[in-house]
Amino acid sequence: MNTTWSRFNITSIVLGFAFLYLPIVLLIVFSFNESKLVTVWGGFSTKWYVSLFHNQGLMDATWVTARVGLISATVATVLGTLAALTLTRYTRFKGRVLFSGMVFAPLVMPEVITGLSLLLLFVAVGLDRGFLTVTLAHITLTMCFVAVVVQSRLITFDRSLEEAAMDLGATPVKTFFQITLPVIMPAIVSGWMLAFTLSLDDLVIASFTSGPGATTLPMKIYSQVRLGVTPEINAACTILIAVVAIGVIIASLANKRREVQRQLDERAAQRG
């Protein structure tokens, strides 16, 4: 393999990374801007971060987003895991193909359509739009993602583990909680994190299904930007990016460490 830095290689890397990260870098840099004008550099300052925490509207929106995310991700994880279990285990029930297609349809459904149809539903059943409706909508949106993640784990799950547990005297319920669930737990956790992230950055569906008093952070940011971008918004976005980046880095580091440890263990076991 060619490992030298040719001019072509350097150019493609610079271009590729610039394309991906330049907008984000710009946003972060201008969050530390002294000037109130977003595109004019007026010196370094952290004052927007301070004022951010005094912006009651933004703080409320953050709190709403966090609660919607936690609740919807948790409920979606339970429902999605159950759907994945049914789809992989009971392969011979009537209408399985239809059911699995229907579970996964929201994956490719344009969000505008999901949002609009949910809105129509909530209006039809007379549900006041607010915290409850946006949470329900996010459960609908994220459940299928959890189902996909958990299902891909269950396909490679060795069923003889469950048979061994039952053979040793565990009832089906105990087998599920003591064997199946712990073994597929990593997939369930990543399903939950995916659901939480999706809920966190959803704007379209939230706009359709949310009401007064339940404005999520993306909605708040979007509405403020329409009145003009302030460095305060830049600061809020920078914090959001930092939170997501730290989460991703911790998750991948933990994963990497586990993998390395596992390989070491296996090599040690092979030796004796």
């Binding site: 048979e163 061994a164 040793l168 005297g169 073994v183």
Partner: protein, 379 residues
Amino acid sequence: MKSLGSIRRDFAPWNDPNAKPYIQFDNVTKKFGDFTAVNNLSLTIFEREFFALLGASGCGKSTLLRMLAGFEEPTAGRILLDGQDMRGIPPYRRPVNMMFQSYALFPHMTVENNIAFGLKQDGMPKPEIASRVAEMLKLVKLEQFAKRKPHQLSGGQRQRVALARSVAKRPKVLLLDEPLGALDKKLREETQFELMDLQQNLGLTFVVVTHDQEEAMTMADRIAIIDKGEVMQVATPAEVYEAPGSRFVAGFVGNVNMFEGKIARGEAGGASIDAGNGITIRTDNAGTAGAGTAVTFAIRPEKIKVSSKKPAEAVNAIEGEVYDIAYLGDMTVYHVRLDDGQVVRASTMNAARITEDPLSWNDRAWVSFRPDAGVVLTR
């Protein structure tokens, strides 16, 4: 037939008409959709027996084991365990434990928690669990690996953990699905003897499924040879080898030469078989086949002698040409092409370091055997 008994000389409950069967398959049929995995099969297994189900893959032997464990229900027929009908009893209420082919060790539990799993399900008090686990670890010589997870063990160690886990509850019957399949040859041979010792010491009934005839021959008191969901023969290893009941069994277990022919005439205690092309075989073991019956004469390679001159005293001697020689160290295998084109396989133990009668490729040679060396098969 004399001297074809069990390896454990005083253990042969299957010959005792008063012995009570411990496990009974009673006209059991199992269908998966249109496929019949087990076809109207009956078997009896006795207490403390080491019983092997031997067959090629897909013959239905694993289905038999899974029905005994309770993972599958028979489509028809009954399975009795110690006289009790097992229908409708779920796996977690059966007094049998199984060792899985994949071992099925719980990856998120340590070795000791794997072994303790079944004991905890029974609600055994903690101190007793601890002492039983320690005892099991000692039994399989894994004391210093108690705190390891399965992925930190080698293949042979995992096999031992699986074994310890499956005997920890002291089941009446231990089912073993290809227990040595994943081990390399050397480890497999060692483990065979360990399994036999374990079965003897714990006084358990073992039912083992295997496709490896050597494994079945080494370990089992009796072997059931299964083909297409049916029992072909149930007998001790010596009987299966020396007195196969059918062409299938003769060909499935070990190497065999077969001559197709007709009984020319019955004689006192034996018969002459006309095998065509001027070959006549004299045998003492004609069974009940009368004159004119189409039969197969089956003889094992090690019971055939190869020599360059016709042995003067031989009752059966056929001439041919040496077609192939394989020197295997402990023995030499000759392939001799008879004048009618049939190839006969003969093996000779290399008891002496230097052979007196060196045969080479394309030499004329005689194959000879005694009248009691082969068997006559009608099925």
